[in-house]
Structure formats: structure tokens, C-alpha cells
């Protein structure tokens, strides 16, 4: 595929129409003391609507999205975001509803959330669900707060201070555990999976929880899950499910059946809500009977045809964000579930796993696969052999961008040298997989010089990230005072407007 990204000399907003250095004070507000009043107006440009629209349209043309190209980021599940969901999320009955309206006026919102919760109970196999967390990591943190509260009630909080995790865990897992006040210990994997003997040796009466992603970030199903659950529970600890990789097992197995006590899901991964260039996402917490009483308030309950918020949960940890959750995303996730239905949802994982294995088999002819043959929805390759030619995984990733496809996740997990982690969800057809494989093969066959010089076809060449960290130019204010240090000419801004 021949590909050239748009390359606009697009100025920053204030370079389009530079605001003057000092602006008149904003209008006075009756009764407001002079002392609290802003002395000069906010330094921000006065632009016309078309200037703003052109600015963002041009910027958008310098951005990859799922709508422009396949996006094989491992553990990110970049699947197609259905347009019907965007349409429905913009209905006035969805957007123009305030969370603090009287309950009688928000029955639709409550019913929608309740229906999604019920569907997720069936999908996760855990009896209670809260949609309050804003994202996956938020869910992890809140789940560990629930574990804390449970241990306090049991009188074991002083003793159970340690959270265990495998070395393949996402970085958010140890970070969430630390934020919740636990120490963390990583357990070395054996051939890409949890080493049950090492886990047995690690658990003790100090263990609060074991956090596990299944399938894990090596793309492998933790087939000893039943033993793992029994080891963890035998030690009196809680078993936590990181749902980032749920896309591999929908309708095949679920956290409840595998013996997990609590799980988070990412609606923006498995349930096709858009990732927004970094967010918003939506997290979900699903809990078994031990931890469910600790879920954040309010919970939604149904009485006859009426729905209401229930705040009478004496063991609840309380609130973890303003309002109830990311409703706009919850709506999109429900659309996904309603559309697919039982068979469709199972087919999501069947196809995601089929895609992954197909691509793994094909690309595994060119680069070593640390763990094989059978993988789930994602797989790892090692770019280590490239080093003999002076090329690194990063160079390969940049060269892939030149083909008009996004790069895989790189350098994670750390147990694989020069790792490439590839996930092509169910929404990618065989044609797309073959095109990606061909792009990958072209990139691999290219000269080391070209690989190291990539990318060439994007709006900018290889970006100097080291300089960014050294310069720390983080705003217009920094550019005003120290912009010269950049040593780069700002765009001329002479594009016809």
C-alpha cells in the first residue's frame, strides 16, 4: 500500500492569531470584590469558527485512528467502534440528563445502566457489578480498596499487606496496589505462565491478593487457573481478575467460573467504546459475594418497573468519582452487547483468537515467537535477531507506520527481549491481516538504513523524545519564555486559510 500522511504546517492556536500581551480586564460582576477580579483577560486567541474547524480538521488528518488503519496494539484491543453507538450517545435523552435530577426523571438512564450491569453479570459470572470506575486502572485501584475494607472488617489488614502479581502483569497492577497501600511482589513466570510452585512458595498469611490477567500479556491462557485459585484461596487471599484481555474468552470462560473474587473490565477495549485518543474509557467492577458489599455507592436497584439509587450499603467504601460512571460509554457498550447477542459475543472471542493465531503463525516465520504455538487474542514476537543488523524493535515499529498501519505494542512485557506484542481484534478481516502481514514483511526486508530512518511518510520524521524530556517545553508559556531552546522552526502558519 502506498501511503502518505497529510503534512500540514499547522500552527498552534495562538500562532494563528496571536493574542496581545496585555488584555483589558474582563467585565465586572456585581458584588464581586475588586481584589478577586482578574486584572487582565485570559491570553487565548480570538478565532473565527472556520479557523477553529480547519485547525482541528488538519490536526485530525495527522492522526491515526481505527477508522484510518488497523491498530495492532497488544493488550489494547483496538476494535472498530460502531457508528450507531455514536449516534445514540448523542440523543438528548442521553446527553441532556443531569446526574442530580430527581430519580423520577432519570428512569431511562437508570434502566440502561441496570441492563448493562445485568448483561455484565452474565458475561463475567460474578453476581454484582458497578459501573462507577472511569477506566480499567481506576477499577483496579477501587477493587484493592474493597479488599482493604474487607481485610479491616476481618481484622487482618495489619497482617495482610502484600499483593502478589506475575511479572507479566500490566504496569497499572503494581501501581494500583501501591496506591491502595499494599506492598507488591512480582513472581517470575515459567515459560510465559504463572509458576504455580513459585506462587505456592510466595503466598502466606501476609498475602492480601493475587492479581492476574488471563489470558496473560504473553497471550497465553493460564491453564493452571483452577490450581492458582485454590492456592490463593487456601492462603486466605483474594484473587483479582484484570479484564484487559477479556476479549479472548467471551462466552468461553469467565472470571466467576475461574474462581476470581473480583474483576475489572475495560468497556473501551472489549465492548468497543472508542478510546478517544487516550480516553475517556469506562471501567467496570464485578464482584463475588465476599467483596460485593464493599462496592462503591450508589448501587442501582429495581423495584417492579421502577429503578432507584441505593445508598444503604453500610460496608460500601463510598464514592470514587463524582456521579455514577461514564454513562456515554456505558450506553455504547450496551449497544455492542444488544447487537451481538449471545452467539455474536462468543463469536467475538472465537474470531479474535483465530485472527491472532493466524497472524502469529504467519509472522512467526520471520521473527522468533517466545511462546508457542497456541495463543489467545494476542501474541509476542521478539525483535532480538534484528540487533545483528544494528536494528531494534523500535525501528521496525517506526517503519511499519510508513506502511499506513499502526505499530504493535513494543518493549512490553519485559520478560521478552525487544518484544513486539500484537493484537488484531475480531473486527479485522483476513484481508486486513494479510495486508498487515505483507506490510510487516516489507518492513523486515527493508535495509537497516531505511529502518533507522523511518518514518518518512508521516507528518513528522522520527521524534526526539529525549530532547522533549530535557527541554520540558510543556505549554505556550514555556514556548514564550524558552521556545528558542527548541532549535526548531515553528510552522510558518502561511497555509492558505
Amino acid at each position: 500500500m502506498s501511503f502518505r500522511q497529510a503534512r500540514w504546517d499547522e500552527p498552534l492556536l495562538w500562532e494563528i492569531v496571536p493574542p496581545p500581551e496585555s488584555l483589558p480586564a474582563p467585565p465586572a460582576i456585581p458584588g464581586l470584590p475588586e481584589r478577586v477580579r482578574r486584572k487582565s483577560g485570559v491570553r487565548w486567541p480570538e478565532l473565527t469558527e472556520v479557523e477553529v474547524i480547519r485547525h482541528y480538521t488538519r490536526l485530525s488528518q495527522m492522526n491515526f485512528g481505527i477508522d484510518t488503519s488497523s491498530y495492532p496494539l497488544g493488550s489494547c484491543t483496538m476494535k472498530y467502534n460502531p457508528k450507531v453507538s455514536e449516534m445514540l450517545a448523542r440523543r438528548s435523552g442521553a446527553g441532556e440528563v443531569h446526574p442530580y435530577q430527581p430519580e423520577a426523571t432519570v428512569q431511562g438512564s437508570l434502566e440502561l445502566l441496570w441492563r448493562l450491569e445485568r448483561a455484565l453479570v452474565k458475561i463475567t459470572g460474578l453476581p454484582e457489578v458497578s459501573l462507577q470506575p472511569s477506566a480499567g486502572a481506576h477499577g483496579e485501584f477501587v477493587a484493592l480498596l474493597m479488599v482493604r475494607a474487607y481485610l479491616r472488617d476481618k481484622g487482618e489488614l495489619d497482617r495482610r499487606t502484600e499483593v502478589l502479581l506475575p511479572d507479566t502483569a500490566h504496569g497499572t497492577n503494581p501501581a494500583s496496589a501501591a496506591m491502595a497501600g499494599f506492598t507488591t511482589r512480582e513472581i517470575a513466570s515459567k515459560e510465559g505462565r504463572v509458576d504455580v510452585d513459585a506462587l505456592k512458595a510466595a503466598v502466606s498469611d501476609k498475602t492480601a491478593a493475587f492479581m492476574l490477567t488471563n489470558p496473560n500479556t504473553a497471550g497465553l491462557f493460564e491453564k493452571d487457573i483452577v490450581d492458582i485459585a485454590s492456592v490463593v484461596h487456601g492462603a486466605g487471599a483474594m484473587l483479582y481478575y484484570d479484564g484487559a484481555n477479556l476479549n479472548a474468552i467471551l462466552g468461553i470462560t469467565n472470571p466467576g467460573r475461574m474462581g476470581f473474587d473480583v474483576a475489572h473490565l475495560n468497556l473501551h477495549k472489549t465492548f468497543a467504546t472508542p478510546h478517544g485518543g487516550g480516553g475517556p474509557g469506562a471501567g467496570v467492577l464485578a464482584a463475588g459475594p465476599t467483596l460485593a458489599p464493599y462496592l462503591p455507592v450508589p448501587r442501582i436497584v429495581k423495584n417492579g418497573r421502577k429503578f432507584r439509587f441505593d445508598y444503604d450499603r453500610p460496608k460500601s467504601i463510598g464514592k470514587i468519582k463524582t456521579a455514577y460512571g461514564n454513562f456515554g460509554l456505558d450506553l455504547r457498550a450496551l449497544v455492542f452487547i444488544l447487537s451481538h447477542g449471545e452467539e455474536g459475543i462468543r463469536n467475538v472471542s472465537r474470531r479474535a483468537v483465530l485472527n491472532s493465531n493466524y497472524l502469529a503463525a504467519r509472522l512467526g516465520k520471520h521473527l522468533p515467537r517466545p511462546f508457542q504455538p497456541l495463543v489467545k487474542h494476542e501474541f509476542l514476537l521478539s525483535g532480538a535477531p534484528l540487533k545483528a543488523h544494528g536494528v531494534r524493535t523500535l525501528d521496525l515499529a517506526k517503519r511499519l507506520l510508513d506502511e499506513g498501519v499502526h505499530a504493535p505494542t513494543v518493549y512490553f512485557p519485559s520478560l521478552v527481549e525487544e518484544a513486539l506484542m500484537i493484537e488484531m481484534p475480531e473486527t479485522e478481516s483476513k484481508r486486513e491481516l494479510d495486508q498487515f502481514a505483507e506490510a510487516f514483511e516489507r518492513a523486515l526486508a527493508d535495509t537497516p538504513e531505511n529502518l533507522k530512518a523511518a518514518p518518512k511518510n508521516l507528518s513528522v520524521g522520527r521524534v526526539d523524545e529525549v530532547a522533549a524530556a530535557r527541554l520540558l517545553l510543556l505549554s505556550w508559556k514555556d514556548l514564550r519564555s524558552r521556545g528558542a531552546e527548541l532549535g526548531a522552526s515553528p510552522p510558518s502558519g502561511s497555509a492558505p486559510r
Binding site: 474582563p26 467585565p27 460582576i29 456585581p30 464581586l32 470584590p33 478577586v36 477580579r37 483577560g41 485570559v42 491570553r43 487565548w44 486567541p45 480570538e46 474547524i53 482541528y56 492522526n63 491515526f64 483496538m78 442521553a94 446527553g95 443531569h98 426523571t105 432519570v106 438512564s109 459470572g125 472511569s134 477506566a135 481506576h138 504496569g171 491502595a180 507488591t184 472508542p274 478510546h275 478517544g276 487516550g278 480516553g279 468519582k321 463524582t322 454513562f327 456515554g328 460509554l329 450496551l334 447487537s339 449471545e342 503463525a361 497456541l374 517506526k398 499502526h406 505499530a407 508521516l458 513528522v460 521524534v463 523524545e465 522533549a468 520540558l472 510543556l474 505549554s475 527548541l486 522552526s489
Partner: protein, 461 residues
């Protein structure tokens, strides 16, 4: 069945042939029998038009605030959204993108996040901003964690008037730390912070910071906050500020704030039943390495061309793991884009004029409500902007708001903590806000409805 997964005849067979297997089921051979599922009971697939009909039927049970005179707010204001904001958000190169890990493929989102950071810096008067957090309440909580990282002590001061949800979020975010929150009371007449109580608390030592909000939980703009920093003896001052208020108020950075957080939903997003929201976060340069969240920086490419990239990533969970400054990964980037495009479409003069206009309407609203026997509006004798607390001279604000709704008025935002056994408000208070839709007719209707409710119930007991 939706056309989101290819079902071309022969395709699946082609994939299986590439693997040399006959059945997809073989790919799940590693999932033990004893954990395999039967039916989930999720229901059958639906055609697109059936899903649209069902979702519309569910949403039809809502009564959108746009159908009523509505005076809701709190940290989630009702604003008119220019159509052009959504036109920007609907550029699917933005909304279907992931976090910009590959900067060369993501200059559009990175530049717009850099512009967002710049705008929050201009509004707050601080040095640097991050690329967003979940919402205003979690941004405030992350600010407390930052304060704890950079200053010794175990006591953190918060206003008694802070909304209960935010207090609960703060307590949860610090559950794993040896931290105690102490509430600084407000003056019962003015709603303003009792500064002498701050002095007494600080004199007790061991204070690692304080949070103050502008306007506060009762809508009060407290002039005393301008003198707060010097009372804290070097401990960080965290200010939670409304972005529109900052277009007309002195930037907190100018009066000593070390961290400024806020809720950004009012700039470009509908309340959408409370989410998604937008957490705003700015700090001083000396605290940069301790801040949570993604940060975008300017740099150059190999050809000397200006470019943008995520930076200071060694603070973050994917690198630093258990020693990261925060666990946050997914943030609210698209809403940051909404924030910046809203501010650019309305423009700085337009925003300040909006703040003035809303404040003027709020005064008309307060005058009309204070003429209703049984209401005190505003409840506090202090400056305010477009939102203020109303006091019922007797009765339960929640019941009052419910009864107002029966007269087709959405009168405001309840303030009481609804959890059984929670401490009661010091008075029967709720919040009411003027919006761009608050015209003379809406105000008359509100006053009439309030009068009728109070007359009928003798105080909404």
C-alpha cells in the same frame, strides 16, 4: 447480526487452513473443561434498527433537563454547546485513536493536548498542566497525593463546605496512607472559610497541605482564600477551581496556589448523567516529576521540524510500576479536545462575557426566589457567580426539589449526603444555578412553583 465481523464465505476456512487446523475450537484446547461455559443468557442478536428502537425506548423514560426550566449544576453545569464542538469531536481520526504512544502517527492529538495544557496553564497562572485526569474529584485526590509526596505531615485540611462526594473520594484515594483529613468550618452567615480555624490547625503542626475551592461548595467566592497561602507555612495549597470562573477571577497561581485542579465538563460536554467528565490538573515546575498522568511536550523531529510527544514517562505506571506517581493510564483526552475547542470557539472575551451574563441572571433569579416566603436566596451573605445556595426555612430540600419537579421545574442540585447515618447539612440547603437558558419566563415559573409548593406543604416537611 451486525457487520462488525467479517463473515465472508470461505474466510474462516482460509484462516484455519493457514494454521493447519479444522476447527476454531482447537484454539481453546488450553482452557480447562471445568471452567468452560454453557450459555450465558445474554439474549439473541438484534438488527441495528431494533437496537436503535430499544435504546430509544429506554431513553424515552428520561426527562431531559432541556424540556424544563432547569437550574441544576454543582460541578456539572448545564451549558449551551456550539454545534462546532461536536463537529471536532466527531473527527474519527481523533476519537478512534489510542493513547499517542507512537508520536509520529499521532501529531494531531498530541498538538491538541499541548494546546489543552497551555490553556489550563493560562487560566490557572501555574507553570505546567497534565493532559487530563478522570474528573474534578479524582484530580483533587491526586493533588492531595502529590502534596503528600512533596511535604511532610499527616494532616490535610479541607473545607467543611466541600461536597460530600468529593470528601468521600479524597478519603478513598488516601486510604493506604497515614493521612487524616480535618474539616475547616465555614462562617454560618457568609459561607466563607473560617481563617482563624486554619491558623489554629496549622499551629498544631504536621499539616501537609490544604484544599480550597473556587467557588466553594455553596457557590461562594471567598475573598479570604487570597490570604490562605501565607497561613499554611510552606505547605502546598491545592485549589479546586471552576474553569469559567477563572476567566473573570484572579488566577490562583497569582495568590499562591501550588496545584490547581478542576472539573472541565462545562467546557464542551453535556452532563450526560455524570460521565464522562474531565479532570483538570496544573502544578508548579518544582513538582513536575511528582505529578500524575500523561504530559505532552514540544520537541523536534530528525529534520528539525517542531513536533510533540508524551514526555516525563518515567513517572508513569508502564515504566515505574509500583513506584509510579499514579496508576492512571487511560485519561480523558477526547474531552480535553472538547475543552480546548469550546474555549476557542467561544473565545476569551466570549467566555468572560458568558460568566458576566450568567452571574447577572443569577442575581435576577436570587431576587425572585428570595421574594418567596420560606426561601432564603442566596443563603449566604457573600459574593457569588452564577450558582448559589438556597436555604429552606423549614423542610427537606430533596422533597422540595421533587415537588418542584411535579410542577415541571428542575430547581437545583441537592447537597446532602444520602447515605443513611451520614452527618446532616448545617441547614436545609440546596444549590441553584442560572444557565444560558434561564430567561425571565423560566425564573417566573420557578418562583411561582416554589411558592405553590411551600404554600401547599407549609414548608415541604
Amino acid at each position: 447480526m451486525p457487520r462488525w465481523i467479517s463473515s465472508e464465505p470461505g474466510e474462516e476456512e482460509g484462516l484455519l487452513a493457514g494454521l493447519g487446523i479444522k476447527d476454531v475450537e482447537e484454539l481453546f484446547a488450553d482452557v480447562p473443561r471445568q471452567v468452560r461455559l454453557g450459555r450465558m443468557g445474554v439474549g439473541a442478536a438484534r438488527e441495528e434498527q431494533e437496537v436503535v428502537a430499544l435504546v430509544d425506548k429506554i431513553l424515552a423514560r428520561n426527562r431531559p433537563y432541556s424540556k424544563y426550566p432547569a437550574f441544576l449544576g454543582g460541578r456539572m453545569p448545564i451549558r449551551y454547546l456550539p454545534a462546532a464542538v461536536d463537529a471536532v469531536l466527531l473527527r474519527s481520526e481523533f476519537y478512534t485513536a489510542y493513547t499517542p504512544y507512537q508520536p509520529e502517527a499521532s501529531q494531531g492529538m498530541l498538538q491538541s493536548l499541548f494546546e489543552f495544557q497551555s490553556l489550563w496553564v493560562e487560566l490557572t497562572g501555574l507553570d505546567a498542566a497534565n493532559a487530563s485526569l478522570y474528573d474534578g474529584s479524582t484530580a483533587a485526590a491526586e493533588a492531595v497525593l502529590l502534596a503528600h509526596r512533596v511535604h511532610e505531615g499527616h494532616r490535610f485540611l479541607i473545607p467543611e463546605s466541600l461536597p460530600w462526594e468529593e470528601k468521600s473520594v479524597l478519603r478513598n484515594y488516601t486510604a493506604g496512607l497515614p493521612v487524616r483529613f480535618e474539616e475547616i468550618p465555614f462562617d454560618r452567615r457568609t459561607g466563607r472559610l473560617d481563617l482563624s480555624a486554619v491558623d489554629r490547625a496549622v499551629a498544631g503542626g504536621d499539616v501537609f497541605g490544604m484544599l480550597a475551592d473556587v467557588p466553594n461548595g455553596f457557590g461562594v467566592v471567598d475573598e479570604g482564600l487570597l490570604d490562605l497561602k501565607s497561613r499554611l507555612k510552606q505547605a502546598p495549597l491545592v485549589v479546586s477551581a471552576d474553569p469559567l470562573a477563572l476567566t473573570v477571577l484572579e488566577p490562583p497561581g497569582a495568590w499562591g496556589a501550588d496545584i490547581v485542579v478542576g472539573e472541565g465538563q462545562g467546557f464542551g460536554l453535556p452532563p450526560s448523567f455524570g460521565g464522562p467528565l474531565l479532570g483538570l490538573f496544573a502544578c508548579r515546575n518544582e513538582h513536575l516529576r511528582y505529578t500524575p498522568g500523561r504530559i505532552v511536550g514540544a520537541t523536534h523531529d530528525t529534520n528539525g521540524r517542531r513536533a510533540f510527544t508524551l514526555t516525563l514517562q518515567t513517572r508513569e505506571q508502564h515504566i515505574r510500576r509500583s513506584r509510579a506517581t499514579s496508576n492512571i493510564c487511560t485519561n480523558e483526552s477526547l474531552l480535553a479536545l472538547a475543552f480546548t475547542s469550546y474555549a476557542s470557539l467561544v473565545g476569551p472575551r466570549g467566555l468572560a462575557e458568558l460568566a458576566r451574563k450568567l452571574s447577572e441572571r443569577a442575581r435576577t433569579l436570587a431576587a425572585a426566589l428570595s421574594a418567596v416566603p420560606g426561601l432564603k436566596a442566596p443563603a449566604f451573605d457573600a459574593p457569588y457567580l452564577w450558582e448559589f445556595a438556597v436555604e429552606l426555612t423549614g423542610g427537606d430540600p430533596e422533597k422540595f426539589l421533587d415537588r418542584l419537579y411535579r410542577r415541571r421545574v428542575l430547581g437545583g442540585t441537592p447537597l446532602a449526603d444520602p447515605r443513611p447515618g451520614a452527618s446532616a447539612l448545617p441547614a436545609p440547603l440546596y444549590l441553584t444555578a442560572a444557565t444560558e437558558f434561564t430567561d425571565e419566563a423560566a425564573i417566573r415559573k420557578y418562583a411561582r412553583a416554589a411558592k405553590a409548593v411551600l404554600a401547599a406543604s407549609g414548608g415541604a416537611q
